[in-house]
């Protein structure tokens, strides 16, 4: 299992990639609930204008981390810096927040609700109206603006909530599991909006427990487990650090080459294709020659390690991932 070795040595404690220049910088942040340590000595830095993914399994401390960045809860120790200054209440107007547990006033009309949320962020009523209308158009909610929130489906409510989070044009958008509960089409339009926001210089931070999503969207990530950062930094660098040692092979015929333990450490047969993990130091070309000798190879692809694999590899090396412990 633990064969995925980092090729370059990681620093003992994941260091912020871009130092004080980050839109959000956490340094050695710790948060306990009673005896339970939710976030433990976490440091990360979110580059401006990037899409940043906070990854980790359920209960890893993602939501607590996000809440500390917004200032809903305070860290027991450590420091949160936003836009280069220690976090202050005044910064809140620049944040757009989508909590994991969506919450709206059920009896309020959609448009009124959006206007209220924007007004609380300092927008004038007229401006809020105008923006809310145009966002509702974009998310195909125009027909629902006069309806009460409770009359909307859950997915639609989530869109309303999302609009509410970005209506005031915040510099930093923080979303807790934004994709959960959305149908594929809505998820695509949400993704498009996030990309657009980042292109316009906004910083987007979102949490997810789905690695594949983060892998597609994020420039940088922080992988946390049990409240500690396992990996932090630029996604490409992290991947490069783990090397390319997976091969996807589609073939017809003799499968004997997979038994060659000198080259293949293990493999996983998915039916349509096989994913083989190379033994340390193995040459991919040698494996290809061997495979084509006995079988018809229709696909042979050297794979980047998936985030999922990296995560599993990282958390299963306690000595490497928790050097301070």
């Amino acid at each position: 299992m633990a064969t995925l070795q980092p090729l370059i040595a990681r620093s003992s404690n994941p260091a912020p990639t871009s130092g004080a220049a980050g839109t959000v910088v956490l340094s050695n942040v710790r948060k306990c609930y009673g005896d339970f340590v939710a976030v433990d000595n976490l440091s990360l830095s979110i580059p401006p204008g990037s899409i940043y993914g906070l990854l980790g399994p359920n209960g890893a401390g993602k939501t607590s981390t996000l809440r500390m960045i917004i200032g809903i809860i305070l860290p027991d120790s450590g420091q949160v810096t936003v836009f280069g200054e220690p976090l202050r209440r005044a910064h809140m107007a620049q944040f757009g927040y989508l909590p994991e547990e969506r919450g709206l006033y059920k009896k309020m009309k959609v448009l009124e609700h959006l206007v209220l949320l924007a007004q609380l962020k300092g927008l004038s009523s007229a401006e809020a109206q105008k923006r809310a209308q145009s966002w509702c158009e974009r998310f195909e909610l125009t027909a629902w603006t006069g309806k009460k929130v409770e009359e909307l489906s859950k997915g639609m409510q989530q869109k309303v909530q999302f609009i509410g989070a970005i209506l005031h044009d915040p510099k930093l958008i923080i979303m807790d599991e934004p994709f959960s509960g959305l149908d594929p089409a809505s998820a695509v339009s949400l993704k498009d909006v996030l990309l657009e926001l980042a292109k316009n210089g906004k910083t987007v931070l979102f949490s997810t427990h789905r690695m594949d999503q983060a892998e597609k969207l994020c420039q940088s990530i922080c992988l946390i487990n049990h409240g500690r950062a396992v990996l932090e930094g630029d996604l490409n660098q992290i991947k490069a650090g783990y090397g390319y040692n997976n091969v996807q092979i589609k073939y017809d015929g003799d499968a004997r080459f997979l038994k060659e333990t000198r080259l293949v450490e293990s493999f996983n047969d998915y039916g349509n294709y096989v994913e083989a993990r190379l033994a340390p130091g193995a040459d991919t070309q040698e494996l290809l020659r061997l495979a084509s000798a006995g079988a018809r190879v229709s696909k042979f692809e050297v794979m980047e390690p998936s985030l999922e694999e990296i995560f599993i590899a990282a958390v299963s090396q306690p000595a490497a991932s928790q050097p301070n412990a």
Binding site: R67, G71, L74, P99, L104, L117, L120, G122
Partner: protein, 441 residues
């Protein structure tokens, strides 16, 4: 400040715009009117004249008894009213307005005092031809055993009857001893006590009853407002926690702003409703009340009106804040209702203390109780109504009251803020204390 105002506006409009608010506001006065008028109407419908037969040994005596009886019945009814409490003394003009006793009682005289007649009268009572008969033969008077036979005592209490009868006998005995009817009137005229209260050296004739009424009206309004809208505050805190909207709001506004906005917003709804009711009551009931002499003695000084407004508002705010606190530490409405006693007990206790406060506003127990914020709204107001307490006492009680409201509000905001981010069970006291300490920001 802007955020608080936005929250107040939302809470207010959200509630005032609902149909149920409109219905309750308009319908309740209607229902109250019906409740107040209907029993009186129903009672008067069943009020047909009582048909009574007086059996005496001689027709002359019978006629005297009839006259005296009617006069005495009027007198005792008045006495009843005076002794029975609350209402200020009725002046003479009230007698004219009163129903004539002749309309209520038809009294026949029967001088055939035989056992056969007694049996016949019994049958009449049974067959409802008459309501009752009074056996007042010379023998019966001599032996002191007069009997009143009827189907029921309804509408004609035994006390009324024996009081009236005693008067009749007194007159009879006096006249037998050579005292004329006029002299007897003079001798038997009852004495009335008129209460005169000294207020800053001036005489004021309002009885204690009128003062009690002023206090009771305020307490009733306070009760109603707290029960209707205090719960509404609790419910809205709970709703916000359960719908998880709080987390979104907390990313824009502070929990104190949210809590204060909610309290003031919901509070304003209750005030609006009460204001509508008071105006409606003023428009419809006041002219009618002014006709009633028992209410015309009710004079409310401007100082008392100010005290009313101040203590009502503060009391309302205090108890609503307590409800908000309950909402903050519970997760469901049922749980919240179980904790309602926290609010209800101080209210009930202050009502228990009320009569003591009105009777002896200077008693040390009353003075100190009226300083305790949870009783101050009712008790300090009652003291002000009865006898203006020293200014320092009013100031101290206001100071403590306002401080307590602010304190609970801040604590509440902290509990609220932490409580909403924690799932599941109701926190126990040590946990709540920890939250309060923890949530300093």
């Amino acid at each position: 400040m802007r955020n608080m105002w936005l929250i107040i506006r939302r809470e207010y409009l959200e509630r005032v715009r609902t149909r149920s608010f409109l219905i309750l506001t308009l319908l309740l006065p209607g229902i109250m009117t019906v409740i107040m008028i209907l029993p009186a109407k129903l009672a008067s419908m069943g009020d047909k004249a009582q048909h009574i037969v007086v059996v005496t040994s001689s027709p002359q005596f019978g006629e005297t008894v009839r006259q005296r009886f009617l006069a005495a019945l009027t007198a005792t009814e008045e006495d009843d009213e005076d002794t029975s409490d609350a209402k200020p003394d009725a002046d003479t003009s009230a007698n004219a307005a009163k129903k004539k006793p002749e309309q209520d009682y038809v009294i026949d005289v029967d001088s055939n005092a035989t056992e056969a007649e007694r049996a016949a009268l019994r049958d009449k009572v049974t067959s409802q031809a008459i309501d009752g008969f009074l056996w007042l033969s010379d023998d019966a008077i001599a032996s002191g055993k007069v009997t009143w036979t009827s189907r029921s005592m309804a509408g004609f209490g035994q006390r009324t009857l024996s009081q009236a009868l005693n008067r009749v006998i007194e007159y009879e005995r006096l006249s037998k001893n050579g005292v004329s009817a006029d002299q007897a009137d003079g001798m038997l005229k009852p004495v009335k006590v008129e209460a005169v209260r000294l207020e800053r050296g001036r005489e004021s004739k309002g009885s204690g009853g009128g003062k009690l009424l002023e206090v009771v009206i305020m307490v009733m309004l306070l009760y109603m407002a707290v029960l209707l809208y205090g719960i509404s505050v609790m419910r809205s805190v709970l709703e916000e926690k359960n719908s998880r909207i709080l987390e979104v709001l907390l990313s824009s506004a502070s929990s104190t702003e949210l809590m204060a906005g909610k309290l003031l917003g919901v509070g304003a709804v209750g005030l609006t409703q009460i204001l509508v009711w008071v105006v409606m009551a003023g428009a419809f009931a006041l002219p009618a009340m002014a006709m009633q002499p028992s209410f015309s003695g009710l004079q409310i000084s401007p100082g008392v009106l100010v005290a009313f407004a101040v203590f009502f508002l503060l009391g309302y705010l205090l108890y609503s804040t307590m409800y908000a606190a309950i909402g903050a530490i519970t997760t469901t409405e049922q749980e919240g209702q179980q904790l309602q006693f926290i609010v209800v007990i101080p209210l009930v206790l202050s009502v228990f203390m009320l009569s003591a406060a009105v009777r002896t506003p200077d008693a040390p127990a009353v003075v100190w109780m009226s300083m305790i914020p949870f009783f101050a709204p009712v008790l300090m107001y009652a003291r002000i109504v009865v006898q203006t307490p020293p200014a320092w006492q009013i100031a101290l009680s206001l100071f403590v009251l306002i401080g307590t409201i602010a304190g609970i509000m801040v604590l509440c905001a902290r509990i609220y803020r932490i409580g909403v981010l924690i799932y599941g069970k109701r926190p126990n006291l040590p946990e709540i204390l920890k939250w309060i300490k923890y949530a300093k920001a």
